[in-house]
């Protein structure tokens, strides 16, 4: 069982690392899609079917499309698909943002009371999951919805900024 987990982890992290270090943006996006399906495979391994399928539906079906559209609509020529020029500043900010997110997640995980891993895994049906999400955790669900909407608007704002490289793109 642990060999499978190791394999999934290697595939997920390996493709993510290659995606981040690659110079071809499109290849990076497609590799990220593989990495996301690795996360889905992990959920399947952990017995969370619904979450796994939702991960594939949302990440492979929707988010990869959003990323691809963003890349294609903001680049002009095929030669542009390489990495941008000011790589060092960007990577510094990227690492800082990533570390901040990781810190928040680690803090939250270390704070939450987790049941011990002894004993059989509980079987949760989609029905139970739905009742939990729309009953006890309805507020959290709504907050996530608002957050995603904000992210969408933010993405539109980011993409709409006219860059000095292409003055003819300005409205």
């Amino acid at each position: 069982m642990n060999a499978i987990l190791l394999l999934i982890a290697l595939a997920t992290l390996g493709t993510a690392i290659v995606a981040m270090s690659g110079r071809n943006l499109l290849h990076s996006v497609l590799l990220l899609a593989v990495s996301w399906s690795g996360v889905a495979a992990f959920y399947l391994w952990a017995g969370a079917q619904f979450v796994a399928f939702a991960q594939v539906l949302v990440y492979l079906g929707a988010i990869s499309m959003v990323v691809l559209f963003a890349v294609l609509l903001t680049r002009r020529a095929r030669e542009d698909f390489g990495a941008p020029h000011n790589l060092t500043t960007r990577s510094r900010f990227a690492v800082a943002a990533g570390a901040a997110v990781a810190a928040v997640l680690l803090w939250a995980v270390s704070r939450s009371p987790l049941a011990g891993s002894k004993g059989p895994a509980p079987t949760v049906t989609v029905r139970d999951l739905g009742r939990q999400l729309l009953g006890q955790h309805a507020a959290a669900l709504l907050v996530i919805g608002v957050l995603l909407t904000l992210a969408l608007i933010g993405a539109v704002v980011l993409a709409a900024v006219d860059s000095p490289d292409f003055p003819e793109d300005a409205p």
Partner: protein, 397 residues
């Protein structure tokens, strides 16, 4: 639920069990799954082959010509002749293409479309993979095919392919929303996301005559209509076949594909059409349930096949009848008509479920309110969609 014990009804499962009975438990599970996979591939592979023939025959008859009739009796060997032609054709890959992605695109597309067959119940006890979240699995697999369309368009290193891929993606993304939204009320009404559960919820007959299929409720009929229109678009079928309009858009993102890879794309398209029709049968047409109690002696898988073939002929009929939509008309139809209708339909389904206890004189009232909720927005939105656009005047330069 009454279980029929006729030999014909249980024949597929009995046959499989008989074939693998001598194996130990672990190997048996593996062999059973393998037999399921081979059966699905064989049945739907042959269905694909003869569906192409049926399509060409029916299109031919609609256009007042005989269609293929040279290879074998009634043209029955035509699909195999086509297959040999496709296999022996030269496989041309553009020199500047992204070789790996160009190769992977048809493979990924076909793999994901075959995955969708895993959760459809083909008959009583005939579901390859009985998942609790089967509907989510189905749509997760079918939405992943969009990635392959993009890979095909981008890897070809041809700007027309890329344009076409973006156009195809805009279409697929637009129609995925009404497709998913039309399925939500089904989950609402049946209280489950498992395909076997949804079929079981549609068992039985009202007054021993009218089957309790979801399509016979007002919201079910509306959801079925939205689902089928979206399914037409999701499987790139006419009148939404912009992604590979052979005659004017040079086959879209498939421009740089030839030979067997091209055939694989079409195989995936027909598989997607079959899978979506199978899902429509499962969700709205009662799955493998017989339409009348007296007809239950016919095996369940035969009923599923009849319904599936009826929907597929509908697809072909529509292709023969309707002209192709332009991309702006196509996206407008999705966002301004189908998405609002699917959202309103959610309210209708909620009303229908809340008023399930109404008796006597309230029963016609329930139907009236539900029908107004379904037809009103459809009429209003449909009228506003066409206002100010037609009739077009053509000027010749």
């Amino acid at each position: 639920m009454k279980t029929t014990s006729s030999l014909l009804e249980n024949a597929p499962v009995l046959l499989r069990d008989w074939a693998t009975a001598f194996l130990p438990a672990r190997a048996r599970w593996f062999a059973d799954s393998l037999i399921d996979i081979v059966a699905i591939l064989a049945v739907f592979g042959l269905l694909f082959a003869f569906l192409t023939l049926a399509e060409r025959k029916i299109l031919g008859r609609v256009q007042n010509r005989p269609g293929p009739n040279r290879a074998g009796w009634f043209g029955l060997l035509q699909p195999f002749a086509d297959g040999i032609k496709m296999l022996t054709k030269e496989d041309v890959v553009p020199a500047a293409a992204d070789q790996v992605l160009h190769f992977l695109a048809p493979v990924v597309l076909l793999a994901f479309s075959i995955l969708t067959f895993a959760v459809i119940p083909y008959g009583r006890n005939l579901v390859p993979l009985d998942l609790d979240a089967a509907v989510v699995f189905f749509f997760a697999a079918s939405s992943s095919t969009e990635l392959a369309v993009f890979m095909a368009g981008w890897a070809s290193h041809n700007k027309y392919s890329l344009f076409a891929a973006m156009r195809a993606l805009a279409q697929l993304v637009s129609y995925e929303l009404p497709l998913l939204l039309s399925v939500v009320p089904v989950a609402l009404a049946t209280g489950t996301l498992s395909t076997t559960g949804i079929v079981a919820a549609q068992a039985g007959w009202k007054w021993g005559l009218v089957p309790r299929w979801l399509v016979f409720t007002p919201w079910g009929a509306a959801a079925f209509a939205v689902f089928m229109v979206s399914a037409l678009a999701e499987s790139n079928r006419s009148p939404f076949d912009l992604p590979e309009a052979e005659s004017e858009l040079i086959a879209g993102h498939l421009t740089e594909y030839s030979g067997f890879k091209y055939a694989l794309f079409f195989m995936a398209e027909y598989f997607g059409m079959c899978a979506l029709s199978g899902m429509a049968v499962t969700l709205f047409l009662g799955g493998w349930q017989a339409p009348l109690p007296a007809l239950e002696f016919i095996p369940s898988y035969a009923w599923f096949a009849v319904k599936l073939l009826a929907l597929l002929s509908g697809f072909i009929w529509i292709r023969a009848t309707l002209p192709r939509l332009r991309i702006d008309q196509l996206t407008r139809l999705a966002w301004k008509l189908l998405v609002p209708l699917a959202l309103v339909n959610l309210v209708t389904a909620g009303f229908w479920e809340l008023s399930a206890g109404w008796q006597g004189a309230h029963q016609p009232l329930r139907w009236a309110v539900a029908i107004v909720l379904v037809a009103g927005p459809a009429l209003l939105l449909g009228r506003s969609l066409g206002s100010g656009i037609g009739p077009r005047t053509y000027r010749y330069a």
